[in-house]
Structure formats: structure tokens, C-alpha cells
């Protein structure tokens, strides 16, 4: 098993490296001149060239990539065009903010999604199943800004129950911060609910139809014991992996939600960098997301392996 995790880790590194290439070279497709776009049209050509040289963008592209990637490995993500200062502090602060929002969304959605999926599976084909399934599916594909607007209109504008801005201001208490994060979390919860519920439902249905479920029932166990002891253990394992792969989508959602609710997270940072054509910032942000995703799926894989005896122990004839 140890070798499996090592192998898995090695593959993640390869993927990350590929990702860095995609991210970097996509940035290089940009026509135009970073120095010019920073200094504006009125700056003197010499100043522009000077800046270009300072930024290193006048060097061959492979050299640039090498400088960038070696810098990254040493923790140096480069200089922001917009702010003319190192990228890391921005990324760091934004990541912390986003983590708060994402954590809240996950804490709400994981139990809810699993519950919804299991309830639907236990009533498969009945009305409650259809309602949960179709609501989940629709919620999962309605863009976050759409559900975000509905939420703002209902809770923020009409009912005035919750603040519509996610930032609580500096020095706000944890509770106030939470208050501000609830509305932004709802669109994220809606999107994730569908995925998690769908997976939990499929896993539970499969387990319910299995021979071992029949064995357990025919032993004389009550339905609730069968479900608790025999079904859930097997049906929820695959859900762990899904939760992890949803990290990627979650961050996609953050871009929109953070913009919508004006919250200084990684999503908004990337959005602003894209608007300002601030490539070092954009590249660093995107790569950070990739790393977060890789780490999340890696952890999920390890947990899955640890919980699944088939993978943990291998087969011994």
C-alpha cells in the first residue's frame, strides 16, 4: 500500500508539472507587451523596454519558463504586474479567505448531500427520490451567480436577514464573519449538493441490491441495522472521492461567488488578475488551485485506500 501512495504521489507531481506548462504557455500566447500594458500607452518606449527587461519578458520563452518554475519551487511566485510587488502575500491572504468560505460550504453540504442521497436511495423510484434527484441535478448545474442573485434578492434585499457582502471588515468577530459568509456559501452548497447526493444515492442503491445486503437481512437483522452496519459502510466510500474531486469545481464557483459578494479570496484575485492581464498573478493563482486540487484528491485517495480493506490488504489467496 505504501508503494501505491508513493506512486500516486509521483503521478500527482507529473500532473502538476504538466499543469505548470499549460498555465505558463497559455499565458505566453498573449499578444502584446507586458511593459506597455503596465505603463500605459503614454509611457516612453525606452521605459517600456526597460521594464520588459526588468520583468524578464524579453528573454527566450524556455528561459522564462525555467526561471519561473525554479522560482516556484523555491517559493518565489514572481512579481505582480499590477501591484509591482511579490505575488505570494496576495495569494496567501486570498487562500486563507477562500478556505474559510469553502470550509463552511463543505461543512454544510457534505452531511446534507449524503443524507439526501441515502434518503433518495432508500425510496428509489418514489416521489421523494425523484424530487431529490431532479432538484439535486438542477441545483448542480445552475450557475452560482444565478442562485447567488436569487439568494441575495430573497435574504438580503427583501427579507434583509443577512449581509449581502461577504467581507465582515477587519477585526470582526468569528461569529460576525460567519454571518457574512452564510449567503455566499449557499450557491456553493447548491452546486455541490447535487454531485454528492447523486454519488451517495448510486452507491447506496448498489449496496442495497447486493447479495451481502440480502445475507444481512436474512440473518434476521432489522432494516436500520442492515443499513447502518452493512450498507452505509460500503456505499459511502466512493463518495469520499467525489467530495475531493469537487474541490476543483468548488474553486471555479469561488471565482463567481467571491466576485458577486465582493470577497477577497483566491477566486476574486484570479478574476482581477485576468481583467488586469496580470499574468504572474494569474499563473500563480491558477497553479495554486491546481496544487490544492491535487492535494485534496491525494488525501481522498489515501483515505479511500485506508478505509477499503480490498485496497489496504490486497488479496492473499
Amino acid at each position: 500500500m505504501g508503494s501505491y501512495i508513493l506512486r500516486r504521489f509521483g503521478l500527482a507531481l507529473v500532473t502538476l508539472w504538466l499543469l505548470s506548462m499549460i498555465v505558463f504557455f497559455a499565458g505566453q500566447v498573449l499578444p502584446g507587451d507586458p511593459g506597455r500594458s503596465i505603463l500605459g500607452p503614454l509611457a516612453a518606449q525606452r521605459a517600456v523596454l526597460n521594464l520588459d527587461h526588468q520583468l524578464g519578458v524579453d528573454r527566450p520563452i524556455l528561459t522564462q519558463y525555467w526561471t519561473w518554475i525554479t522560482g516556484l519551487v523555491r517559493g518565489n511566485m514572481g512579481l505582480s504586474y499590477q501591484f509591482r510587488s511579490p505575488v505570494e502575500p496576495f495569494i496567501h491572504a486570498a487562500l486563507v479567505n477562500s478556505a474559510k468560505l469553502a470550509a463552511l460550504a463543505f461543512i454544510i453540504v457534505v452531511p446534507l448531500g449524503i443524507l439526501g442521497g441515502v434518503v433518495a436511495a432508500l425510496n428509489v423510484g418514489r416521489l421523494s427520490d425523484r424530487v431529490i434527484s431532479i432538484t439535486g441535478l438542477s441545483a448542480a448545474t445552475v450557475p452560482e451567480f444565478v442562485s447567488g442573485i436569487v439568494v441575495i434578492v430573497i435574504f438580503g434585499v427583501e427579507l434583509k436577514l443577512l449581509p449581502v457582502s461577504a467581507s465582515a471588515g477587519s477585526g470582526a468577530s468569528a461569529l460576525t464573519q460567519l454571518d457574512h459568509l452564510i449567503l455566499p456559501a449557499i450557491p456553493l452548497v447548491l452546486v455541490l449538493f447535487g454531485y454528492i447526493a447523486r454519488m451517495a444515492r448510486a452507491g447506496t442503491i448498489e449496496a442495497l441490491e447486493s447479495d451481502y445486503a440480502r445475507t444481512a437481512t436474512l440473518k434476521g437483522l432489522s432494516r436500520s441495522v442492515v443499513i447502518r452496519r452493512h450498507i452505509l459502510r460500503n456505499s459511502l466510500l466512493p463518495t469520499i472521492t467525489v467530495v475531493a474531486t469537487q474541490t476543483g469545481y468548488l474553486i471555479g464557483g469561488l471565482v463567481v461567488v467571491e466576485t458577486l459578494f465582493n470577497y477577497q479570496g483566491i477566486g476574486k484575485l484570479i478574476f482581477q488578475a485576468a481583467q488586469g492581464k496580470d499574468f504572474p498573478m494569474l499563473e500563480a493563482g491558477v497553479l495554486t488551485i491546481g496544487i490544492v486540487y491535487m492535494v485534496a484528491t491525494l488525501i481522498a485517495d489515501v483515505i479511500y485506500t485506508l478505509l477499503n480493506p480490498r485496497l489496504r490488504l490486497g488479496s492473499a489467496g
Binding site: 503521478l11 507529473v14 499549460i22 448545474t141 450557475p143 442562485s147 471565482v255 463567481v256 488551485i289
Partner: protein, 294 residues
């Protein structure tokens, strides 16, 4: 059947085999209320996309500076926006670009993804490993963010949107097709084909492809939902369809600022339009999946 003794076993050929014609799945689909509901929604928006300017009560571009931010009334059922444009007309005409871009982008991704997936699944080897890693890498990023990267670089246009979304979908669809192909690879009919001396291309496209079409069809509809999601989101963020072209996402972005002031109709109606389109696509997807699974 008195002559049974004379004609051995195969005499009563299809006696009990279910007669499943080509149209059977269609009939099953049409019996599903979810499919009907989804199809009606889709057809409505397709009609708007095709004949929007005829259906719309007003010109979606005309600004009435004296009637800005007007609440829904008999003259303007959905009210007017900050520039005094009729929201209903903009919603109706706004269907056009998104319904043009999303199917084409999905189709592009499906065609490329299918070819790639077939090659990965059947030929295996280096192609499989290499593309597999690229897929992993792309998966690590949300579609919207990958799209950002490229659209910022290439500049937003309809063509850019189609190509970028199609390319992002390609590895994702390839992955689905690949796993469907791997299931087929376990089956003996491929061995039979090899024993008939069939070429790899024949085996991939004539033997395997027809068997993975259902999986591809489901994947197409699922991706279509994502494409709507992505295009709407990109437009909202200003990287998709550009103003003043009527578009749900960019109209929401344009009028979002006045939402706290209580002018909800300018954002809520386009939002509902997006939601209904997405729900329509998903109802259809869900029923197709169910029919194919049964």
C-alpha cells in the same frame, strides 16, 4: 407445430425474444414526463433563439432614457433596465448566442474527445498514459478558470468561446469514452474481429464505436449542461458574450449593481432564463440516462 421433430431446435426462433426496434428508446423517452418537460423548455428557447427578434415585443437595443429602471408593467412585462431597454425583449433575444455557442462547443469537444478516447482505450500504451496525464491536469482546474487563461490571451469572441470550451471538454469526454472502450475491450467480439484480420481503425470505428454511442450521447447532454453553465458564467464575468449584445449573463453583470436598490427584475428575469435552460437540459439528460440504463 407438428413438424417439430423434423426441424430441430432453432425452429421457433424469436418466439420469446422481446421485439426491440430502433424506435423503442424514443417511445420510452416520450413516455417520460421529465423528458417532455425538458424538451418543451428547450424547444421554447430554441424558438426564441431562432425567431427572437420577431417574438420580442420591443427592440432589445433601443434605450429609453426617460423610462430607466421601470418596474414590470403592461408596457414592459419584465420592466426596463438601467438604460431603459425592455428586459423581456433582451431575455428573448438573449437566447440566441448562448444557444448557438453551447451546442457547437459541446459538439466540437465530443467529436475530438470520442476520437481521442477510442485511441486511448483501444490502442493504450504511450497515447493513453500521456493523454491521461493531460486530462488529470485539466481536471485539476475548474472549466471557468482554464477558459479565463485562454480567453484573456486570445480575446473574447464567439469563435474563441466555442474553440476554448470545445478544447477544454475534449479531454473530459475522452476520459468517459476511454472507460467505455475499456469495458468493450474485455469482450470477445474484438478478439473475433482480430481473427478476421480487421485493421485497428475498423475495429475502433466500426466494431467499438457503435457500442459506446449511448455513453457518448449521455456525455454530450451532460456536457451541454456544463457548457451553458460555463458560457453564462464567463459572460457574467465579462469574458464571454460582450455588451451590448443581449445576453443573460452579461445583462446580469451590467445590472447587478442596482440590485440592492430594489431593481430586482433586471437581474432576476435573465437569471431565471439561465436556470430554466439549465434545468431543461438536465431533465432531458436525466431521462436519456434512465432510458439507456433500463
Amino acid at each position: 407445430m407438428t413438424d417439430i421433430a423434423a426441424t430441430p431446435a432453432a425452429a421457433v426462433a424469436v418466439a420469446h425474444a422481446p421485439s426491440r426496434g430502433v424506435s423503442a428508446p424514443w417511445r420510452l423517452l416520450l413516455r417520460k414526463p421529465t423528458f417532455i418537460a425538458g424538451a418543451v423548455i428547450l424547444l421554447f428557447w430554441i424558438a426564441c433563439a431562432l425567431f427572437g427578434s420577431v417574438i420580442a415585443p420591443h427592440d432589445p437595443f433601443v434605450q429609453q432614457l426617460l423610462a430607466t429602471n421601470a418596474a414590470p408593467s403592461r408596457a414592459h412585462l419584465f420592466g426596463t433596465d438601467q438604460l431603459g431597454r425592455d428586459v423581456l425583449s433582451r431575455v428573448v433575444v438573449g437566447a440566441r448566442d448562448i444557444l448557438f455557442i453551447t451546442p457547437l462547443a459541446t459538439l466540437l469537444g465530443t467529436v475530438l474527445g470520442t476520437a481521442l478516447g477510442l485511441a486511448m482505450g483501444y490502442l493504450g500504451g504511450a497515447i493513453d498514459i500521456l493523454v491521461g496525464r493531460v486530462v488529470e491536469a485539466v481536471l485539476a482546474l475548474p472549466v471557468v478558470i482554464v477558459a479565463f487563461l485562454f480567453i484573456v490571451a486570445l480575446g473574447p469572441s464567439t469563435l474563441t468561446l466555442i474553440v476554448v470550451i470545445g478544447f477544454i471538454f475534449t479531454p473530459l469526454i475522452a476520459r468517459t469514452v476511454r472507460s467505455a472502450v475499456l469495458v468493450e475491450s474485455q469482450l470477445d467480439y474484438l478478439s473475433s474481429a482480430r481473427l478476421l484480420g480487421e485493421k485497428s481503425a475498423h475495429i475502433m470505428f466500426v466494431e467499438i464505436l457503435p457500442n459506446v454511442v449511448p455513453a457518448i450521447l449521455v456525455e454530450f447532454t451532460v456536457r451541454l449542461g456544463y457548457a451553458v453553465f460555463a458560457v453564462a458564467t464567463l459572460s457574467f464575468l465579462g469574458f464571454g458574450i460582450q455588451p451590448p449584445t443581449p445576453d443573460w449573463g452579461s445583462d446580469i453583470a451590467a445590472n447587478f449593481g442596482v440590485l440592492p436598490a430594489g431593481y430586482w427584475w433586471e437581474t432576476v428575469f435573465p437569471a431565471l432564463a439561465i436556470a430554466s435552460l439549465v434545468v431543461g437540459v438536465n431533465l432531458v439528460t436525466d431521462s436519456i440516462e434512465q432510458v439507456l440504463a433500463s
